[in-house]
Symmetry: C2
Subunit: 362 residues, 2 copies
């Protein structure tokens, strides 16, 4: 890698495309003749307005977002979205959640502050190592929405087909898979994603919401900031947004468009994941922790037979330039997060290293 960079397998914040970082560094002291850094720009200035509008337009093009959906840039990440979703969408006070791991559990706990949460499917019985059957869920008539975490970062599962919501609004946390593959936005009422995994720096979530879900009649206790309509009515400029994040994400959107869009990312990501999963399936030292049909293309957890060996591998990897491979404490072992910005060479190099490690220590 150039610049002495490592292969960074962090689950998030995570790698960004090297050429994007080069562009950002080059524009630091004077953005395109504006005489200032993007961090120094008034958010109401024409130059920043252009940055913001291009970012939204490029994202709309990438995801083919229908005109009746708003794109919002909201600070606060997932923890804020866990509250905003029920605050804004619970009209009848009932919502259905699918419990598939740590992040859906956090979303459930927060939603319970605002109404009744029905857990209509769960994979808790096997430590969230699979996606439950979602073809015939018991969804009550008065349910306001059905909520999924579409890719569980910690447990390494993903939905390859969406649940049958029986006509109810589908809400999806796409944080750790956002822009990793094509997405039919029209099948969702609301998609949100913390950008710090597959797009840009931590500090913002992107929300894509169908316009008819925006409401004027929220309970008084809902802070102005936490009404989606506040952001929708002002093009996410009600208050000073995270301008830097919008700029960095916009750069990544342009990079993705230039490199073939989401179809190309999907092909690349499938190829990268296959290299790693094929290795794990062949290995006698390492094994994946997720049922084959539900394996995430982004987050790949795996284990050795012992915690001691897990730790030894993580340390050996770090010394060899493969960083952040320690698994989350709730799953243990190792985890390789291989988002869009992880080059195929990084995955190949990791597999070579693990193969050699197995030969020497297996």
């Amino acid at each position: 890698m150039k610049y002495g960079r490592c292969y960074n397998f962090s689950a998030g914040p995570a790698m960004m495309p090297e050429e994007v970082l080069e562009e950002i560094a080059a524009e630091m002291l004077n953005y395109q003749g504006s005489g200032m850094c993007v961090m120094e720009m008034s958010h109401r200035s024409k130059v920043f307005e252009t940055i913001r509008n291009e970012a939204e337009a490029d994202l709309r093009r990438l995801m083919n977002i229908p005109d009746n959906y708003k794109v919002l840039f909201v600070q606060g990440g997932g923890t804020v979205q866990f509250a905003m979703v029920p605050m804004n969408l619970m009209k009848n006070g009932v919502a259905c959640y699918l419990e598939t791991g740590a992040w859906s559990k956090k979303a459930i706990k927060e939603a319970q502050k605002y109404g009744e949460v029905r857990i209509v499917a769960s994979s808790a019985d096997k430590n969230f190592s699979y996606i439950p059957d979602c073809s015939d869920l018991d969804i009550p008539d008065n349910a306001d929405y059905v909520y999924i975490c579409e890719n569980e970062t910690i447990h390494g599962t993903t939905y390859f087909s969406l649940p049958d919501t029986k006509g109810k609004i589908l809400v999806s946390d796409q944080s750790s898979m956002f822009l990793s593959r094509p997405c039919d936005v029209s099948r969702y009422g609301l998609i949100w994603a913390g950008v710090q995994k597959n797009v840009g720096p931590a500090g913002m979530a992107i929300v894509i919401i169908r316009e008819d879900l925006l409401r004027d009649d929220l309970p008084q206790f809902v802070p102005t900031y936490m009404n989606y309509k506040t952001h929708a009515d002002s093009d996410s400029m009600y208050n000073t947004p995270n301008c830097w994040d919008i700029y960095c994400c916009g750069k990544v959107f342009k990079y993705l468009l230039k490199n073939g869009g989401l179809e190309a990312m999907d092909a690349r990501n499938r190829e990268k994941a296959a290299i790693l999963y094929d290795f794990l399936d062949r290995s006698r030292l390492f094994s994946g922790t997720v049922e084959a049909k539900d394996r995430s293309l982004m987050n790949v957890p795996f284990v050795t037979p012992s915690k001691e060996q897990d730790a030894a591998v993580v340390a050996a990897c770090k010394a060899a330039g493969f960083d952040n491979l320690k698994g989350h404490r709730s799953v243990g072992g190792l985890r390789a997060s291989i988002y869009n910005a992880m080059p195929k060479e990084g995955v190949e190099a990791l597999v070579r290293f693990l193969t050699d490690y197995e030969k020497e220590n297996g």
Copy 2:
């Protein structure tokens, strides 16, 4: 200016020290041998932990923050703080607010969602061009706190002495004056500041809160994210923080320490402001809009006799490399924001330009 940079008089986001931007650019592809950009780092990694801990320690040193105060890094800016303050501090449901401009009005409106707001002083009668007498405010016994906006960015006023709160907790929005002068933190219960004016990029507020004000017993409707205790108990790492902002602010804290701390900034800021106010007091074309005793050292609003001439001056300034001088629509005219990072040379150059303009057009 180097790099073709302009003098940027934006009210926020605003100028940052040039040497800080140079350092950030130099560390973009590989932060101090870590092999990655700060934007790519796991917030749980040792390298980021050091960045975060140094930022807090440097801020504590700069402001001499007592040990019984917590320092929090919270996403969402002022709009989120307007709700968090009453959500967390209204126990009796009564708070006193001083109405001194647009930002205190916004804070008042949001607080009214959560309890009774008593406006105990106001300068609305003269379009917020002064700070009201705060020596004998009518503060009820059951008031939970007294709230001020210590420097009104739009109107250009500042408190040179703090209100007598009759023993109640003082809460201050210091956004547009944070770190511009020494501050006796022990006189406040809570100080908050959006960092995008006098410190770093937009996307974060810093909250300094006395520990005994943290509470476990908030109403159920308060989102987990909006309880100050959530952040205090986790060193602001309950969720992924705005790591980039913490990094950039940390750089600015080190820059301030290296350059004499807040005493030196105060002297510099007084000198810079005096250059501009002395010019305005002498000028026959331009005049300041604020009563002399309450003039902000950070935000300097001024007008010509007509809106047409105001606009002509703003355009002439921009063409000459003095950007973002247009005043806020509620005051009109021009506004020069001269935060810590604006060099004295920038203010001198602006005054020379305005002096010449007056000779030619006055």
